[in-house]
Amino acid sequence: MWHTIAQHSEVKEGKVYFREINGRIVVYGKFRGNYFAFDSRCPHKGGPLQQGELIDGKVKCPWHGYTFDVFTGKHGRIPYPKRYGRWRETGNLKVYKTRIKGPSLQLYMPEK
């Protein structure tokens, strides 16, 4: 189902916003003219990505420094050496499809 999350004119380039939809916190913003939206939970250990930093199209988790592409969800270089074993493993970020409909920025979230 499509959800309106903001008026797209209010979403400024390079800034990160968040809000709750269906009990989940979603993070959204705009980078190089393209809108993005993703789940706020870091796939590594659940850190709050709404407090993360947006750097060159990637979000950096404030807990352990993992980075994820805000459009594809793919994780960047893992910042812990191999001796941290399975603790350091991570999946990819859950990203949502976005669209502009009239004045609204919308994201697609599957029904539960």
């Binding site: 009990g23 989940r24 939970r41 250990k45 659940g46 850190g47 709050p48 404030p62 807990w63 352990h64 812990y80 001796r83 941290y84 074993g85 399975r86 603790w87 350091r88």
Partner: protein
């Protein structure tokens, strides 16, 4: 005699869901948080052993308070996971891999106690972020978990302050615990270790 239904009604969980809390997500966060406390207790045992020599002797006792209190944090919050309908993993290896904070490994150059203190400091700072996240999630929605988490958070903030004082000379307001690992806010049985 009436037949008992297979799944009991758990009002303690139902009220949380009605308050808009994602209970499954909370359980996941709590398991990761208590796993971090448990592994911290283990690693702090090693770190403390290596605070040696004249300089290390005083530092040992500060590290010991943090070590024992982090174990208390595990003890305090783990029952709450089960109350909510969750559990910790049956396999300790899996439990350690879930921990919200990285392993506090003994640094290679451990003979300089400052290097051990840096590891201790980073561990406490990670714990502060994790418990702050739990508090944010439960504030206004789950008074019981919030109360437990904020008690733990207060002690983690104290721990950070101690290590900051030792490393940077920043006053922490530290008063000695009445006995090692007193856990003034997190002990389930105040007055005992």
């Amino acid at each position: 005699m009436s037949k008992r239904s297979k799944e009991p009604e758990v009002v303690g969980r139902e009220v949380l869901e009605k308050a808009g809390l994602n209970v499954k997500e909370l359980i996941d966060k709590l398991v990761a948080a208590v796993a971090a406390e448990f592994t911290t207790y283990y690693y702090y045992t090693i770190l403390r052993m290596h605070l040696t020599g004249m300089e290390g002797e005083g530092l040992k006792e500060i590290a010991e308070d943090a070590r024992l209190e982090d174990r208390l944090h595990f003890e305090l919050m783990t029952p709450r996971i089960y109350e909510l309908g969750g559990q910790i993993p049956n396999d300790i290896r899996k439990f350690a891999d879930l921990a919200a904070c990285p392993d506090a490994y003994l640094p290679k150059d451990w003979k300089d106690p400052k290097n051990i203190l840096e590891v201790l400091l980073k561990a406490e700072q990670c714990a502060i972020r994790v418990w702050t996240d739990v508090c944010s999630m439960t504030l206004g929605k789950d008074p019981r978990t919030y109360d437990l988490a904020q008690r733990i958070l207060q002690e983690e903030v104290e721990h950070e302050a101690w290590f900051l004082e030792l490393l940077y000379g920043r006053p922490s307001g530290h008063f000695r615990r009445r006995f090692p690992g007193e856990g003034p806010r997190s002990s389930r049985f105040p007055g005992s270790s």
